[in-house]
Structures are given as C-alpha cells and as structure tokens.
C-alpha cells in the first residue's frame, strides 16, 4: 500500500516536472498566442484576459495585409517545386552512382559530395549577380531554379539505393526490364522512406528560407512567408496582435508537417547535419 502510494507520488512528480519543462520550452509560442488574442492594444500583457479572448486578429491580418495569402501561395509553390525538383534530380543521379558501373565514377561521386563543402555564403554574390542579369528578380524561377539539385540529396539516396540488393537489378534486367523502368517501378517504390525523408527535409528548409528571397525579392507580392512576416513586422511595428497572428499562421504548415512526419523530419535533419 505504502509502496503504491510512493510510486503514485513519484509518477505525479515526474509529470509535474515534465509539464513545467514543456511549458518553458513552449513559452515563446504561448507568448505569441497570448499577444495575438489581446486585440489591437498598445500595452499587451503577458497573460491575456481569458474572459474576453479576441481571435479576430487571425481574420483581420488577411485584410490588413492583403498580400499574406499571396505570400503563403508563393511559399507553397516554391517549396513544392524545389522539393519535387530535388527528388527527381537526386534520384536520377543517385541511381547512376549506385547502379551503373562507368569509368570515372569516383571522380563524379567526389564532385557531388564536394559540393557539400561549399557554404551557401560563398556562392551567394555571383548567384545574385547572375539572377539579376537574367532578369529573374521577383519571379518563381529566381526562387526555384538555383535549388533544383543538392549534393546532400544525391548522397542520401545513393546510400539507400546501394542498400538494395544488386541481384534484384540483374534479375529485372534478365526479365527485360529497362534501366529507366527499373528505377521508376522498383527502386523508387522500395526507397519510399528515404524519398520521404528528403522530401520533408527539403520542404521544411525551403519554406524557412530567408537570406536568398531577401536578396532577390523587391516587390511585396513576390515575397515568401518568411520575408513577408519580417517586413510586415517592420511596417506595422505597433500592431502586436496582427504581427503575432501572421507569424503563427505561417508557422502552421511546418508545425503540421512536424506532427505528421516527425520521423522523416528527424532522420532528415540528423542526416542533413552531416553537411557543413
């Protein structure tokens, strides 16, 4: 009896400790939520008045900033296009590196891997000049084309393709399967977890991109969500509820992605961390 009581107290203490820590971790998000439901006040408090929560900011922000919908569309178009593009180019290249024996393979593998050593900051100035000269500022192609391939994606998929037994390939070829069909109808379905990992990781990274769109976007309607909310913040410095509402709205897609694809996200991020 006393043992039971002891373990009951112990368990509830553990829950209390975990809840307090969870609350601390979530504090900035709760702070944002709290400010967003306090109405257009100039002196927000840390805790809202729970008797009159004002959720209208989540509607008003779309009226106050008519471009917000456009920013969300932009971010979706760019993130989906980059994700799809990287999946295709990475899968094709990974297939060549994993399944075809061709002269010079170590060299090309090194070229793909070596691109991970070059930090984004060391390429950004010439890339900016190129995109400007092409007249691609304020355009989807300017936001998408530079990110259509990634050495990380090639490397990740190559590892998975290599893990699939080569006998399968030889058997398929004996049965008259062409190499393209082998990639499409055997390798891709078998590597779905790896492809999902790459997809979730790429989508998240592209959605959260800040530096590049900051450089090549001038007009408000071409902004992505990240540039949009930071610009909105500097133009509407004192409208706290709308600032926080817009921030929460653009966080939702990635938060949903976290809940739905936590496993893929985690494995993608830990693998992605290997690049410099």
């Amino acid at each position: 009896m006393s043992l039971n009581l002891g373990s009951l107290i112990r368990t509830s203490l553990l829950y209390a400790a975990l809840s307090i820590v969870a609350l601390l971790v979530l504090l900035p998000l709760l702070f944002a939520l709290s400010l967003s439901v306090q109405g257009p006040t100039l002196s927000p408090t840390l805790l809202p008045d729970f008797s009159k929560l004002d959720w209208s900011s989540f509607q008003d922000v779309f009226r106050e900033e008519p471009n917000l919908t456009r920013w969300i569309v932009n971010s979706f178009v760019v993130s989906l296009a980059v994700t799809l593009g990287q999946l295709i180019t990475s899968a094709l290249a990974a297939y060549a590196l994993a399944n075809i024996d061709f002269p010079g393979k170590p060299f090309f593998f090194f070229v793909f891997l070596g691109s991970l050593m070059i930090p984004w900051e060391s390429t950004i100035i010439p890339n900016y000049l190129t995109i400007t000269r092409l007249g691609w500022k304020d355009s989807y192609q300017g936001l998408i084309i530079p990110f259509m391939a990634s050495g990380f994606g090639v490397f990740l998929l190559r590892q998975h393709f290599k893990a699939i037994p080569r006998d399968l390939y030889e058997a398929a070829v004996l049965d008259g399967c062409s190499s393209t069909r082998y990639l499409w109808s055997i390798l891709v379905p078998l590597s779905r977890p790896a492809l999902a990992t790459l997809a979730v990781y790429t989508f998240l990274n592209t959605w959260n991109q800040y530096y590049w769109p900051l450089l090549i976007i001038d007009s408000p309607e071409w902004r992505t969500t990240q540039i949009g909310i930071t610009a909105f913040r500097s133009s509407e410095v004192t409208i706290y509820n709308l600032q926080m509402a817009s921030t929460i709205i653009v966080m939702l897609p990635t938060l949903i992605l976290l809940v739905l694809g936590q496993r893929q996200l985690v494995s993608g991020l830990t693998a992605g961390a290997l690049k410099g």
Binding site: T11, L14, Y15, L18, V21, V25, P28, F31, A32, L35, P44, L46, T89, L92, A93, Y95, A96, L97, I100, F102, P103, F112, S115, M117, I118, P119, E121, S122, T123, I124, I125, P126, L129, T130, T132, I145, A149, G151, V154, S179, L204, N208, Y210, Y211, Q226, I229, T230, R233, Y240, Q243, M244, V250, L255, L258, V266, L269, T270, A273, L274, G276
Partner: protein
C-alpha cells in the same frame, strides 16, 4: 542508334579475346553515356549554382568591382590583407567581427548542449505520455529562424516588458536587452539556443538511446546510484555524440544571419553584435562592394572548411569507436 547496336553486341558472350577488349571499351562508353544521362541534371545545376559561383567568388575577391558586379581593376590580395589586418593600417574591425562570431558561438554552443542534455535525460523517463513530451521538446525544429526572430523581437521589446526584470536585476541603463552593448549578443544567443533546441534535443536523445540497456542494468545490480550511472555510463558513452553536436552547432552559429538581421538590423550597440556573416552582408548588400564581400566569403569558407574537416575526422573516430 549507337546504344541499340551495343546492346546487340552485349549478347554475343563468346567472342575472341581481342574483340572482347574492344567490346568492353565500347561497353564502358555506353555505360558512361547512360550514367551521364542520369546524373547530368543534378550535375548541371550544381555546376551552375554552386561550383561556378564559388570559383567566381574567388575570382572576384582579387578585383575591385563596380556596382553592377563587373571587375574594374586588379586588386591582388589587398582585400585579404585588409580583412586580416595584415596591411598594417591598424583597422581591425573585421578581425573583431570574427571574434564576435567566436563569442557568439561560445555562448550558443555550451548553452545549447546543456539544455539539450537536460531535456534528453527527462525524455528517457519511463512514463506513459513520454511521446507527447518528446514532440513538444522537438517542436522548435519546425519553427523558422525568421518566425522565431519576430516573436523574440517582441519578447525583448520594452512594450511587453517580458524581460524588464532582467534589466532591473542587472541595473542596466536601457529599454531593451537588444540595445545594450553588454547584453545584446547574449540576447541573440539565447534566442538562437531556443530555435536550435529541438534539433539538439533529438540528436542527444538518439545518442542516449543508442547506449545498451544492460550496462545500466549491471551497474544497478552493483549498487550504482542514478547520479553514478549518469556520470560514469551516460556521459562517457555520450561524449562522441556531444562532440559531434558541438561542431555542428559551432558551424551553424558561424553562419547565423537571420536573427541578427531581424532582431538587430544594423551594426547593433557599439558593434557588439556585428558578426562576420553580417559584416559580409553589409559589404555585399548595403555597400555593393562585391569584390570585398567575396573575399570575406572566401575567408568564411576557409574557416568552415577547417571546422568541417575536424567534424569528419571526429565522425571517423566515432565509427571506429562503436
């Protein structure tokens, strides 16, 4: 056409040796053509947007450029000597901004690891709802640095008074932690720790879970306390993971830009937050000095290369270790 012919040739297995060599060369060409077909899309994009721009950065760093980004005059290594203060002018602002970057990572990295370790230890508790808490601890990986910056800008803002108690406690003569030269860098570092908390947590948790359970079991039988288990089993076996995390966070903190641009937006109080990446941005974006900014980005590349090579060596060790 050629491809079709060679397929036919392949099937004739019993060829004299002399012809065989010719065929195999032919086959090799065929394999190369096929491989090229598959990897050229990725390769072309990487060459166009990674390799060529990188080489062009190096090229530009030796020239004075006009505002359109064309090279105007050869400048030899003058930009490099200027950055590293080897020109004897005594202007050390770029060396100082490198030092600021080092300070910044010295704040971010230890804080990040201590928090991650604490959360990961809590997340190994054997209770029912632990998955729920793990998701909460991971949540910040889904939050962009830009969103986090907008939120933390208000946390540090004098109107919400959320951090007023720290200002009072330290008797600072300022309205916001971000506006005082002695606290601004720390304020940005603390916010950065929060944004990377989810990632650090998940890596540390994976490291702890990889430690075999039977080691703890036998330690308990031998009468080891919880603290002793942590001190003599968890910590030593987790060291490779923590070292790995340390390097990753160092590299990331060297590249941090968004939070500085949103929270501070310029040089900051007494240049206290003028990190190297922000100095590159200033030279590139605000002053349009493309050659000079390129030289700085090459210096950054060399620093990151050094850090990355340490990281790979460490990873090698970790593989041997296990």
């Amino acid at each position: 056409m050629l491809l079709k012919d060679s397929v036919l040739l392949d099937e004739r297995v019993t060829l004299p040796i002399a012809t065989k060599r010719v065929v195999s060369q032919h086959q090799q060409r065929k394999a190369f053509g096929l491989a090229l077909l598959y990897f050229s899309p990725a390769l072309l994009f990487l060459i166009a947007f990674t390799y060529i721009p990188f080489l062009r950065s190096i090229w530009l760093s030796f020239f004075i450029t006009n505002p359109q980004g064309d090279t105007v005059r050869f400048n030899a290594i003058n930009y490099y000597t200027r950055i590293l203060n080897l020109d004897g002018s005594g202007r050390t602002e770029y060396l100082r901004s490198m030092l600021t970057t080092v300070y910044f990572s010295l704040l971010v990295v230890p804080l990040g690891i201590v928090f991650a370790l604490a959360l990961a230890l809590l997340a190994t508790l054997n209770i029912k709802a632990i998955m729920f808490f793990r998701t909460i601890f991971t949540s910040s990986i889904a939050i962009s640095v830009a969103s986090a910056s907008v939120i933390w800008a208000l946390i540090y803002s004098p109107t919400t008074r959320a951090t007023q108690w720290i200002i009072d406690l330290l008797h600072l003569n300022t309205h916001s932690l971000l506006q005082h030269s002695s606290t601004a860098l720390f304020a940005v570092a603390f916010m950065t720790t929060w944004t990377s908390l989810g990632f650090n947590f998940i890596v540390t948790l994976a490291g702890i879970q990889a430690i075999p359970k039977d080691i703890y079991e036998s330690a308990r039988i031998d009468g080891a306390s919880n603290w002793q288990s942590f001190r003599f089993i968890t910590l030593p076996l987790l060291t490779p993971t923590l070292l790995f995390l340390m390097l990753i966070s160092t590299i990331q903190s060297f590249q941090a830009f968004t939070q500085f641009n949103v929270l501070i937006g310029n040089e900051g109080p007494d240049s206290a937050t003028d990190v190297f990446v922000f100095a590159i941005f200033t030279a590139f974006w605000k002053d349009n000095r493309y050659g000079f900014a390129s030289a700085m980005s090459v210096v950054l590349f060399l620093i990151l290369l050094a850090l990355t090579s340490i990281q790979y060596r460490l990873l090698d060790q970790r593989v041997h270790y296990q």
